[in-house]
Amino acid sequence: MSQQPQAAVGAPLSRVDGRLKVTGQAEYAADLPHARTTSRGGTPIIDGVVHAVVVDSTVARGRITGIDTRAADALPGVLGVISHLDKPALVYRDNPGAWLDPFVGERLHVFQDDKVRFFGQPVAVVVARTLEAAQHAADLVRVSYDAEQPTTDLTGAPENDPLPTQDYARGNPEEALASAEVRVEGTYRLTRNHHNALEPHATIARWDGEKLTVWDKTQWVLGARDELAAVFGMSAENVRVISPFVGGAFGNALRTWPHTTIAALAAREIRRPVKLVLTREQLYYGVGYRPAYEYGLRLGSTRGGRVTAAVHRIRAETSSYEHFAEGVMNPGQLLYATPHVRQAFRTVPLDVNTPTFMRGPGWSSAAFAIESAMDELAHETGIDPIELRLRNEPQEDPSNGLPFSTRRLSECLRTGARAFGWHRRNPKPRSRRDGDWLIGMGMASGIYDTLRMRSEARVRLDADGTALVQASTSDMGPGTYTSMTQLAADALGLTMRTVRFELGDSTFPAAPPHGGSQTMAGVGSAVQDGCDKLRQEAVKLAVEDERSPLHGVDADDIVVRGGRLHVKGTPARGETYRQLLARNNRTHLETRGTFTPSGDDRYSMNAYSAVFAEVAVDRRLGLVRMRRMLGVYDVGRIISPKLADSQALGAMVGGIGQALLEHTVTDHRDGRIVNANLADYLVPVNADIPDLKAIYLDGEDLHADPIGVKGLGEIVKVGVAPAIANAVFHATGRRVRDLPITAEALL
């Protein structure tokens, strides 16, 4: 097989859908049906859509004793109010394909009983001809409750029984800790964070007889299809989910949440297509969040900084009806070569809705505790924080003895130290001042596993020399449209303009969830495979075609550029795809690409990062201001450098938010979130964001997948918050173990 020239891959290209987005033509779920049909995606106009507004519980625990809909029903335009009183039939079949859902527990069943499990739980839905009427009517629905005292505070609440996987031990940690020359110990508290994507969740559902079509905000159209089929007791073939654009998600559009069911249910009951858009406040109760953690960590080490023992006691909030657990245990098992480790991870059931994955799920929460503790250990032993980490670098994965496919964390640390000017840092805390500002530098390492799953893609080359590539993946912001087009363009030997990539339709070839940084590895490899196959098929057609100028040439000697097949090194000898297909009376060529990850786990595959932060802290007012940040990443090959920067810098912004601003605040008296809006839940604004920079180590990981990528979107979030917290310590001498770090902790 010949090597195709690389023109698009590796080039800092702008998003292929950028113009659609900035001119408002990209059709998000909530834009329909007002948006017009466009050539891209071919979304049909949906006639006769009516509007649904959800009524939420205003207590966190108890029973619904009555729902008075008289005033709502009397409003002009109101088509109906649905609640558990109507006993709407929903099957809620098991859905074994919903592997993203918690293993233990049962998803929330909407309108099936009178039980209230959390504040903001949907208790009714109002459907009306106009959105305004539906909103007004929803406000007129009177719900009465028999309320009980809820438990919503993680601190002190009893734990669930653990799963076997929630305890881990190697070596003899207690003994090693007791005999360690140096010990550090702390409890790190991460508050609950919400994703707060700009786009609200929205669903339009339409029934055509037995068939259900849903336009939804989702990172996984196949997951949504299967879940709707399970909930409504249908065959998956009768459900189609369409989601061409997602306006940010960060993980909260992976699961299929109750509102999607509510929209489909309302459409069935009212017998009209129904549109449902969650309000900003409802997004705080309806689509998951990053759970709060209490992470107790004890480290034992030699005076020389070799960590000998680590004991992790981890508690995370979950709902009363599902035990959500994420990969919070992994970093503690394999980030450093610690011989003696014990971990106990417990979930704590509260009267809240179920948490879910949020960028860097689990791994980034663990990294805050581990990397803060490592900083404490560095301070305690007087060893430079980078040197300390280098001294604990494992030669193989200490959790399973496997070799690393690639692990270049040391290189990340050294490269970052040079680029950031780490050598200028006086290790003594509170040693640098600029007027009223205390200046500090901090760093942290990061790790995230390289997830890969089976993926497929359809590739079609038309007689006009343009190609269409399809996969049922998603683009929540990383630029899937663009990066896949880049891969396909090079593999097919076409320009970016002559390749179209389509996603977000459950009728397209199967793709895994668009999350966990696996889209490039899986879907990208399938696209690469399908395009390679198609190009090879075209080459074969040419070399076997007596009328082709390429007849008889060794297929391996042919490359394709700009839609023209030619002999490598002899551009004059060749022909275009168009000529080839026309002469052979072919309307198109079509192939199916697949990627199946190697099943034999011979390697430990992970992406790594070293994150550096410089902060200024007002010595009297306690305000923390970012001055600059650098991330250095070992993520394998970079397909699209401009998009990679968007990912890395965006995650730094998210990490700054987590470290300094973001905090979902619950009033534990009644379980209400008091800042369920973007005025009171603070995310960084431009003024908070300093000079940010990302460096990617040049390389690839071909053990991971044929295109050599290790995943980027998650690792760039891991390590940001601890780097900032460590910089705050260096600036002030004050160790803050609770996020976010706000003024009162530093006064």
Partner: protein, 326 residues
């Protein structure tokens, strides 16, 4: 949102007639429309006063400034006279909200804006301001951002305006026009502490219209400025803030105008701080000593104890910035 009717007043007379009949005045709408969407506000009639001739900033005969009620925040902030005479006003405005909001919101609307207390803005929570007699959820609830001064057991909500803090410091006057004619009210009397009637927020009579805010002439030179302390560097309300204006002549502070924001149920005039300053020579020690009085009478709540110390330091910092020092 609940249904409402909307009329546009073409002149002051029309506005007053509609106001007398119970209409709610609306100009920039940056607060009212939000609150209507949340059903916190449910006016039956909106009277749009945008067309009224209240958009001028004029120098008064005494050498002060009068800012029309419909002057946009952005216009007032960048007005040459305001910038030259009262930097504290410009700064307070420019540190408020976002550029988009400042382009819409008016000075009259700004001082009428309602609290950011999240319980006030959540119709399912108890709030005496929104629903008299229902109770105050914030008093023993989540109250990090709430007031430590001027509170009552019925309400602990802060007044959110920045420019109102500057108006309070400078002792501005509010010009009103009502069915019974014109009157003026000292700014300190215009915004009401909650007491047992937190639903009453301004000393306005039925149908009365704000026509402008007058800033008094002050002895010159006058050094003034505004410091806003907040978690986020832009687009956020104050945890604490300080408006300071100092007239220093012959090395002695002759006039001191100081007020604080983010800490009071109304913008908080710091008379005790002013008294510490007047007649004394500027020094680091003086700023610290005077600022010690900033939180006199503070009644902190569970989550906002830090505001007592933060307020003192905020005032100290801004005294130093305005009055000089290292």
């Amino acid at each position: 949102m609940h249904p409402f009717s909307y009329t546009r007043a073409s002149d002051t007379r029309e506005a007053l007639d509609a106001g007398r009949d119970g209409g709610r005045y609306i100009a920039g709408g940056t607060t009212l429309v939000d609150l209507m969407r949340e059903t916190v506000e449910r006016p039956r009639t909106l009277v749009d006063i945008s067309a009224l001739p209240l958009r001028d900033i004029v120098v008064t005969r005494r050498g002060g400034l009068r800012v029309g009620a419909l002057v946009r925040m952005a216009e007032a902030a960048t007005h040459r006279g305001v910038r030259a005479l009262y930097p504290v006003i410009s700064q307070a405005l420019e540190l408020s909200a976002s550029a988009q909001l400042r382009n819409m919101a008016t000075i009259g609307g700004n001082i009428m804006q309602r609290t950011r207390c999240t319980y006030f803005r959540d119709v399912s929570a108890d709030c005496n301001k929104r629903e008299p007699g229902s109770g105050c959820a914030a008093l023993h609830g989540v109250n990090r951002t709430h007031a430590i001064l001027g509170t009552s057991d019925d309400c602990v909500a802060t007044h959110p305006s920045d420019v109102a803090v500057a108006f309070t410091a400078l002792e501005a006057t509010v010009h009103l026009l009502g069915p019974d004619g014109k009157r003026t009210v000292p700014f300190a009397d215009f915004l009401l502490k909650p007491g047992s009637t937190p639903n009453r927020e301004q000393a306005l009579r039925r149908g009365e219209l704000i026509t402008g805010v007058e800033l008094p002439a002050l002895p010159r030179p006058l050094k003034s400025g505004y410091l806003k302390v907040r978690d986020r560097q832009s687009y956020e309300f104050a945890l604490t803030s300080a408006a300071v204006a100092l007239h220093i002549r012959g090395g002695v502070i002759r006039e001191a105008k100081v007020a604080a924001g983010g800490v009071g149920t109304v913008p908080w005039k710091l008379a005790a701080v002013e008294r510490e300053l007047i007649g004394r020579r500027p020094s680091e020690a003086l700023w610290t000593k005077a600022a010690e009085r900033a939180a006199d009478g503070a009644r902190p709540l569970r989550h906002n104890r830090f505001k007592v110390e933060l307020l003192k330091r905020t005032v100290e910092r801004q005294l130093r910035v305005a009055g000089g020092g290292k």
